[in-house]
């Protein structure tokens, strides 16, 4: 009995003798060793997770900025305006629900209420609640519902093309002071409202094809001034420093000693329906988690291999016909019909010579004569088939090759018939 040494890669010698209780060696690492080996990666992964968490908490700039939010320092926020107003003694209250906004207007005579709804969460009814809430109501980039409720004569806002407008075009003091503004945001088509003859100020109207005005000032249905700032960029950190944006914003918003800055949030959503989670039984979520856990366990169950894969060096597989196939494709691609046919003819001639026992030294004429003699076909035709004809296309080549094969078979049959020698082999 024998055991062979199994040093990988090296030549393997055969050791004969009694069954060998050789030193066995456990390949699988122990749990402790596996843990130690993986320690670096575990630590690295933990560090990465910690870093990501810290980074995500500290820098919110990567997240979507809250537009018009009073404490948002990103370009889309409005913190700059709020801070300036606070510094100049305006009592600023920032709220994010409709109820709080209405409650914050404690002095209805000297309060400016700024309302923005960047996520379009407020309903027409809620916009209606704002009507008359403050003597000066400023809507920043008002959604269609807001315009429709509070200023039905004005068309809904459409996205602005941007750019700078330097024609106030109205008598509003703030607009006059600003002189020129950027118009990023929406523009409002107020031509209908202006034609009704009501007290409507259409500021920064824009030219033909520009869609409408950047600022429309009119009366609230319930009394009080209503400013619709279509160009929301005017109050945002990113653009407030440009042109006369700051003058316009401060002029409109800082009119009264108290300012209520209201940005609608998801808390304003009227939940007529119950919570989604109340629609299904309480065990659905845990069951989903359980299903996930079962899947995970099944993956571990099926995925754990019974030992590593055994590798084996297999010899290369070389096919002998590769050169033949390659040459055939070359013939076919180049259309070497004559060359191909000549190869076939040489093979046929060789087999004919063997079949007729002419010997390998037999000349072409001898073979043709012998074939003519045994088959009775005329020599000229045989010569044309075996030597002279040149195929003009592939069809002719195939026909000639078939003729050659037929001739071989015919000669073979005649030879077998004409004498009682065993049929010649081609070997």
């Amino acid at each position: 009995m024998t055991a062979t040494s199994t040093d990988e890669g090296s030549a393997r010698g055969v050791v004969t003798g009694a069954p060998v209780h050789s030193a066995q060696h456990v390949v699988t690492p122990t749990a402790r060793r596996a843990l130690r080996r993986a320690l670096f990666w575990i630590v690295l992964a933990a560090l990465l997770v910690a870093f990501a968490a810290v980074y995500g908490l500290t820098s919110r700039s990567t997240a979507e900025a809250d537009r018009f939010a009073a404490d948002e320092a990103a370009p889309a926020g409005s913190r700059a305006l709020i801070e300036v107003l606070r510094d100049s003694g305006v009592d600023v209250v920032t709220v994010d629900t409709l109820g709080a906004a209405l409650a914050a207007v404690d002095d209805p005579a000297a309060t400016t209420l700024v309302a923005a709804d960047p996520r379009a969460v407020l309903s027409a009814e809620q916009w209606g609640d704002l009507d008359g809430a403050a003597p000066s109501l400023v809507l920043v980039e008002p959604p269609a519902l807001a315009v429709g409720t509070l200023a039905p004569a004005v068309g809904p806002g459409i996205p602005s093309l941007g750019g700078v407008r330097d024609e106030p075009g109205c008598s509003l003091p703030a607009a006059q002071r600003a002189g020129s503004i950027t118009t990023d945001g929406v523009v409002l088509d107020a031509t209908g409202a202006a034609s009704t003859g009501a007290d409507v100020e259409v500021c920064f109207p824009g030219g033909e094809g520009e869609g409408g005005a950047a600022l429309v000032s009119l009366d609230q249905p319930a009394g009080g001034a209503l400013h619709l700032i279509g160009a929301g960029g005017v109050v945002q950190n990113g653009l407030i420093g440009r042109e006369g944006n700051a003058a316009l914003a401060l002029g409109l918003v800082g009119e009264h000693p108290r300012l209520v800055w209201y940005v609608a949030s998801t808390a304003d959503i009227v939940d007529g329906a119950t919570e989604l989670s109340e629609l299904y039984p309480g065990w659905v979520n845990p069951i989903a988690w359980l299903a996930l856990t079962v899947g995970l366990a099944a993956a571990v169950w099926r995925g754990r291999r019974l030992g590593p894969v055994v590798i084996e060096n297999l010899p290369v597989v070389v096919r002998t016909t590769e050169t033949m196939e390659g040459r055939a494709r070359l013939y076919a691609r180049e259309g070497s019909r004559l060359r191909a046919l000549d190869a076939l003819r040489v093979g046929t001639l060789r087999r004919l010579a063997e079949g007729l026992a002419l010997g390998s030294a037999a000349g072409l004429d001898n073979i043709i004569t012998a074939v003519a003699g045994i088959t009775g076909r005329d020599r000229a035709g045989l010569r044309a088939l075996l030597v002279d004809r040149e195929p003009q296309d592939d069809g002719e080549l195939i026909a000639l090759s078939d003729e050659l094969l037929e001739l071989e078979r015919l000669v073979q049959r005649r030879v077998a018939l004409s004498d009682d020698r065993p049929e010649p082999t081609t070997r």
């Binding site: 009995m1 062979t4 749990a31 084996e312 290369v316 033949m324």
Partner: protein, 441 residues
Amino acid sequence: MAVTGWFVALVALGAVPVVLLANGWAYVGWVGLCLVLMAVDAALAASPRATSLARSGPDRVRLTEQAEVTLLVTNGSRRRLRGVIRDAWEPSAGATPRRQRIDVPAGERRAVRSVLRPWRRGERRAAMVTIRAIGPMRLAGRQASIRVPGGIRVLPEFSARRHLPSRLARLRELDGRTSLMVRGQGTEFDSLREYVRGDDVRSIDWRATARRAGGPGPAGSPAPTLMVRTWRPERDRHVVVIVDSGRTAAARIADETRIDTAFESTLLLSALADRAGDRVDVAVFDRRVRGRVQGARGADLLAKLVDTMAPIDPELLETDWTAVPSLVRSMTSQRALVVIATPLDSPGSTRGLLAMLPQLTHKHLVLVAAVTDPALLSAAADRSDRASVYRAAAAERAMLDAQRVAAAVKRLGADVVTAAPLDLPPAVADRYLAYKAAGRL
């Protein structure tokens, strides 16, 4: 660590408490319970590391035959070892079954048997043994792979040995044991024996007959016993076989590499020549001698040959033919039959062989045994469409090349045997017998 299907089922069973309690805590609690049970079960399983393993079994097996190997598993832990064991052999060793259940009480030993049906020649190794011990609750287990050296040498099949009896019979016919043999070239005097009816009268040795009869006897004494001479082929000739293991031998014809065909031919020829009383030396060569058997006779010869050939695979190297004459010189100093088993494909790939041949042929009788590809013949006969006509042309061309090479080899004074893989070994043996009969050895 490993978990079983029962563990997965146990986790899935958690659906009952989760639905009944309709609470996220039921889920957390159940999963926690499962994890605890799993850990306990794994801890209670016997340690696979504590087993000691030993292999036993044959160290050689002929290709296409099967061998049973035994793995003795001794449970060295104090717990019962229950689980699955896998004796991981190389895939081409053809070990079945791949995995088996084992149940070894503490401190006891069990045998795990598996059957090898190798499908490739050479040295087949057992890489390792993997044991997965399952805990008493059958939820989880511990697993370890243990390297236990082991291997088996898969010898060439020698399927050509079925041709041996008929060739041996032909040899006996040559051998003077039957009276067909007459005096001729390549025979040597064997013995004198009494004439029996049917013997060729030309072989009567009158001088021996007279000597046997002694002096003139008395009249009326019975006729003197006639003596005949018997002849037998020359013995103690030398046969040297050189098997080419270079890159061209790696080519696969009809599901057999050329080197395997060469080995089959070598084995048949060696068995025959050994019985005929000739000495056989074999070398496998590409750029260095990969294997060599010299001076072995009788049953020892075949055993040594298959053992030498078993691990040899073709190298992807060009064979160094210039070194072959000196190799032959080192193996024999007298005139010998040198059989070279190498493909004769194209003039390009056989240039080295052709350049070397005259050095051998001027002293030895050289026979080149080459495998032809039956696929070429069938490709040359198929003319069904455009592509196959071009293939037939290329096949004719390849056959023409092979013939040119064979003719060149013959012009250099060597002999050529070409045949399809299965026909080559008997063809070589027949050629040897023909030499023997003609006294050309």
